[in-house]
């Protein structure tokens, strides 16, 4: 079976700084890939490139066999099939929870207001947030905001979900509820890439782990292998530091 997503040798520079150097990866449907690595290793940029929020300098990004990174390809078309959840939630502060969720379905795929609301209500109930539907984002806790952000992305029925350090901006006691939501999604078979510093979580949820450093994929394999018995020095050093920090 051909992979849902195949990244072939993408690179990205910001000025003189090489952020991604010849990165490749493949992801099958229902697969969960965790991306770990030190700050500045290019993990977030990788996600932003896959979502076409940043144009790549070189390489191909095949989504269901079509190169969406081709400059000729309509990026809006690709983005609606790939959901992304940001570190800082990025909810729309002027809209209620419900409107945050229904905006894209209504404007992008021209779903009727009722239909969009039914979908939203269904998702809100599933993630235990239906009592918050008419609140504005600044009235919610960070964990609730991030779960709304997940729902907002899910409302477009994406075939792939990207998580960019979804719990890094949260107070420690709120991390669990967001990780649980992501676990639920994984259990339901959502295909996703999760960039996270929560190594325990990566180990639990991911089918495969990718270790990045300085814009390159340094190591890739099963979670137990990469996170417990890394082959490279760099990965070993990083994991030791992470373990000490705990």
């Amino acid at each position: 079976m051909s992979p849902l997503l195949e990244v072939r040798g993408i690179s990205k520079q910001f000025g003189n700084l090489t952020v991604l150097a010849d990165v490749s990866l493949a992801l099958s449907t229902h697969e969960v890939l965790a991306v770990v690595g030190p700050s500045g290793s290019g993990k977030s940029t990788l996600l932003r490139c896959i979502n076409l929020l940043e144009p790549v300098d070189d390489g191909e990004i095949l989504l269901e066999g079509v190169d969406i990174a081709d400059p000729e390809f309509d990026a809006d078309q690709a983005r609606r099939r790939i959901g992304i959840v940001f570190q800082s939630f990025n909810l729309f502060p002027h809209l209620t929870v419900l409107d945050n969720i229904t905006l894209a379905p209504r404007k992008v795929v021209k779903m009727s207001e009722e239909e969009a609301q039914i979908t939203a209500q269904h998702l809100l109930t599933r993630f235990d947030l239906s009592d918050k539907r008419d609140e504005y984002p600044d009235r919610l806790s960070g964990g609730q905001q991030q779960r709304v952000a997940i729902i907002r992305a899910l409302a477009m029925s994406p075939s792939l979900m990207l998580f960019d350090e979804p719990t890094s901006a949260l107070d420690p006691e709120l991390v669990g509820e967001v990780l649980d939501a992501i676990k639920t999604l994984a259990a339901e078979g959502m295909t996703m890439i999760v960039v996270s510093h929560e190594l325990g979580f990566a180990r639990d949820v991911a089918d495969r782990v990718l270790f990045m450093d300085e814009g390159r994929v340094v190591e890739e394999g099963l979670p137990d292998q990469v996170l417990a018995n890394p082959r490279t020095d760099r990965a070993r050093r990083f994991l030791r530091l992470m373990a000490e920090a705990r």
Binding site: L53, R80, K107
Partner: protein, 289 residues
């Protein structure tokens, strides 16, 4: 602090808290007193100096004549209704034209490049020309061309001048608002599949406009005052009416009457603006994440 003291106090307020409250109350009373005293002293001195100046009797006669105030007021008031009307008409167009200019200047679409250059040039040029010169150029120049189908009314050109001039300023206010919306908002909108135009319309603009309401109101205050410039084209508004009265009687009280009418509109507007700014600041510092 001891148990013996406790029964004498309000049961809900601890002794330490009560002492603090009393202290703050004393402080508040003191600053109120100082504020009132210095106001009275400063204004008292100014009034005394003015009243004791050698020219005061003449000035009182020609600027503060109750008789002339009464006589000129109805006429000026009729003129002022015109000021308000001009202001309201101009404002609607300014808000629309300026928004269009700001969106064009903020957009990065290559198709809009010529428009963007034009909008930038427009804003630069118009902000560089004194409104009064623009008023003369359009108000006297265009009607003199005697073009077919182009309105000759001075009021039309006067309003057009205000729209042209103020749109440039208001466009910059809008643009500042658009740029103050963090790019992560656009990223979130685009990531959901919204086009850049849709992101602007549904995500950026609603937030930008809300943020710039206070500075916009500030410009409204200025516009309301500048409607008096129309007198220079002979439009029969409040200032023009008062000029006529002054020319007939050689008494300047009519100017004061006109000024008073402007204040009745602009002062509440300015207070309201301040109130909005304060509320916005409280919001952003109070509950922001």
């Amino acid at each position: 602090m001891t148990e013996a003291e406790a029964p004498h106090r309000d049961p809900g307020v601890s002794p330490g808290r009560a002492r603090r409250l009393a202290f703050h109350k004393r402080q508040r009373r003191r600053s109120l007193f100082i504020g009132a005293l210095s106001t009275v002293v400063v204004f008292g001195v100014v009034i005394l100096v003015v009243i004791n100046s050698p020219g005061w009797p003449t000035v009182r006669e020609s600027f503060f004549s109750w008789e002339d105030f009464k006589a000129s007021f109805p006429d000026i008031l009729t003129g002022f209704v015109r000021n308000v009307r001009i202001f309201l008409i101009a404002e609607v167009f300014i808000l629309i034209v300026a928004l269009v200019l700001a969106v064009i200047r903020s957009s990065r679409a290559p198709v809009l490049t010529p428009l963007r250059l034009a909008a930038t040039a427009y804003v630069d040029l118009i902000r560089g020309i004194p409104t009064i010169i623009l008023l003369f150029l359009l108000g006297f120049g265009v009607p003199a061309l005697r073009l077919q189908g182009v309105p000759n009314s001075q009021e039309f050109w006067a309003i057009t001048t205000l729209v042209i001039s103020y749109s440039a300023y208001v466009a910059e206010v809008y643009r500042a608002g658009i740029e103050s919306v963090h790019e992560s908002q656009t990223a979130a909108a685009r990531s959901l599949g919204l086009s850049s135009a849709q992101s602007m319309r549904w995500v950026v603009l609603p937030q930008a406009v809300r943020r710039v309401i206070p500075p916009l109101l500030n410009d409204f205050v200025a516009l309301q005052k500048d409607s008096a410039l129309l007198a220079l084209l002979g439009v029969q508004e409040a200032f023009r009416r008062s000029q006529i009265y002054v020319a007939e009687t050689f008494n300047f009280t009519a100017y004061l009457a006109a000024a008073l009418l402007f204040l009745i509109v602009t002062v509440p507007l300015a207070r309201f603006t301040d109130y909005l700014i304060r509320r916005q600041r409280e919001r952003t510092t109070g509950t922001s994440l």
